[in-house]
Symmetry: C3
Subunit: 275 residues, 3 copies
């Protein structure tokens, strides 16, 4: 199985599919997404970390590559039963660590291994998805993840890029965090762990952003707030989200990736918390 | 075979694919659409009824679910050789009836059977596509549609939601209907049966909407009208559509789902009709 | 293997998938793109010619069909080990020739063969993707490309439409061309062969368009120019592109398909070229 993710829109991903089908022996292909935020390895890392652990063992071709054609390396990463192939810009490492951890639960190696992909002169300088990464993913698929280290085209490396996600600062009754991504619905996903809202569902929280300060309900799910109303909830990735039921949270709260969010419970409510 | 439809955009559908591939034994996955009109079970019902009967027997995972995380039930529906899995908000029943009727032509049970899906506490309250419906669809796929009633997780139910599409009022020379959906091209699909236009192709019809009243040509296909011109034709679902050749009918006629449309032939032309 | 390409958006392509899966015996389906520029056989020809040669032998269902329902013919084209099925509007011939040439390198027939598809009265006049082309593609898939000429439904024809791409006029130090397509990133792909830039990388070129005249850097890849800056490079199809690093070249240069582009090197730099 080979999954494909990119920021290529259309129809460039089809060229990668053609290469994979030409070079690998009847691989199952599964599209993850081809509209990842453009040129943004950080958002790619978030979404791949979110999605890829749902998959059975696979080779994941993941190309969000603003540095295509420069001297950034091409890498293949072994993570438990999975492998990832893409540019060395940090986007592959957080999902690789998540895959390795999940595999470790099943007794596999919890460490990731990173390999540089040696490539002959590629056909183009602007489409390494087709010319470098898809051939490398096909080669890993044909060798098998277990035996990928035997590929001549892969050299183990100790140094590689990684996206780091900063932790939110969480105190009793107050959390200072930032937006990691905004999803397709306009939900602004923060780095504040969902547990911050424990004991507050049905109550409210004060949200401070560049858009101002407001007290909004803490709900279990979108439809617990009236349509069009802002809300705070725990998203499916386990983080606090600033949302609007049937609307866009990013617009209501004036949020975008990297912007800061301060959440606080007022004193009376905080005193109700177990200490 | 498992088909997938949702209003999730991207990349959330990939998490459902991962779950299906992890839990079912090598199922073929086919994307139907992941940009169904957001939060609109009615449009979902229309499109699924339009598309799913083209498929061979399959399990159809269909998640347009504005009530995610509330107490609306999860359902699995058996419809002939097919099964549908999704929220109990009415979106599954019209396509299920269409699939059952098509199967009945081949000698199968023309009735649909609806089951409530019993779920353990799901991982999230906001992404039941991943946490409730995909696991249920995988279970139905593994059991087989014929034996899905033997699944412990399914309980037959007699009461369930269904989207109802109102019939147009059709008289000689006049039809009063409404827009069911607007498609990606901007074609406004009404509930007026295509037969209303019988005998009028090459003539014209008066269309009255909130956008005004106009006499427009009744054509066999888009290109029978000049580019940019409004027209009325019978769409591929058998209903009358208000379109613009190489333009957007919804804008030209000021139409949107639920808005009313009155079609009438002027007297002279009506008199030409066989009575 | 059957690939699918169209300008249908969503969810119409799913109806074609259903038909293919119902009529062909377990074909692998691969989506190429369903957002090809709408109603534009010329852009379709470009993109299909770019993408399809990456694929192993397959049947390619390609439907960009502004004349649906008119008397334009339906055609199936044999091109080496590949077949293409779609409307006779020229969109299939450039990719067919590219596929035949690629197959010829492997010893196969370098000529394309075009067949008219005989169809019974189709179910609709507006959705031949579902009603004419998908059934024809399924029939070719079942017969096999080698034996497709034995199909009763196919009649060889000598006359058919073809999109022609004009060549750029290239002189020493000066090229007069036009934009073929604008891609999803906003890159304006011209018909000037990439070789025109040989020996000029790291230098600059004067670009004249309806948007004005400017001297811009000639780079190896996007990131060789600062973010937001216009540039000229050779794209992955081998043509000169007018781009912006992390921005839209079509907007910066005021370009769209069909608009003219004049590229020239100033005299001093031209004198540096080998003659």
């Amino acid at each position: 199985m080979i999954t494909l993710a990119s920021d290529f829109g259309s129809p460039y991903p089809a060229a990668m599919k053609g290469v994979l089908l030409s070079r690998a022996d009847d691989p199952r292909l599964v599209d993850v997404a081809h509209d990842l935020p453009r040129g943004d390895p950080r958002s790619a890392a978030f979404w791949l970390r979110f999605v890829l652990p749902e998959f059975p063992p696979a080779v994941h071709l993941a190309v969000v590559d603003p540095g295509v054609g420069t001297d950034r390396a091409a890498v293949a990463v072994r993570a438990g039963d999975h492998a990832l192939v893409g540019p060395d810009n940090g986007s592959l490492v957080p999902p690789a660590r998540a895959l390795a951890e999940a595999s470790a639960d099943a007794g596999a190696d919890p460490e990731i291994e990173v390999f540089a992909v040696r490539t002959d002169d590629p056909r183009s300088s602007t489409f390494h998805g087709r010319d470098v990464f898809a051939p490398a993913a096909a080669a890993v698929h044909e060798a098998g993840v277990e035996r990928m280290d035997a590929l001549d085209s892969l050299d183990p490396v100790d140094e590689y890029e990684s996206v780091l996600f900063s932790d939110a600062r969480v105190e009793t009754g107050r959390a200072v965090g930032e937006v990691l991504v905004v999803d397709d619905f306009g939900n602004a996903v923060t780095n504040v762990p969902g547990s911050f809202l424990d004991g507050h569902r049905g109550g409210s929280v004060t949200v401070r952003t560049s858009g101002g300060e407001a007290s909004v309900p803490v709900v279990e799910t979108f439809a617990d707030a009236p349509a069009g109303d802002p809300l705070v909830t725990v998203g499916s990735h386990g983080y606090v989200e600033c949302d609007v039921n049937r609307g866009r949270g990013d617009e209501a709260f004036d949020l975008a990736p990297g912007r800061s969010v301060v959440l606080s419970f007022d004193e009376e409510e905080t005193q109700l918390l177990p200490t």
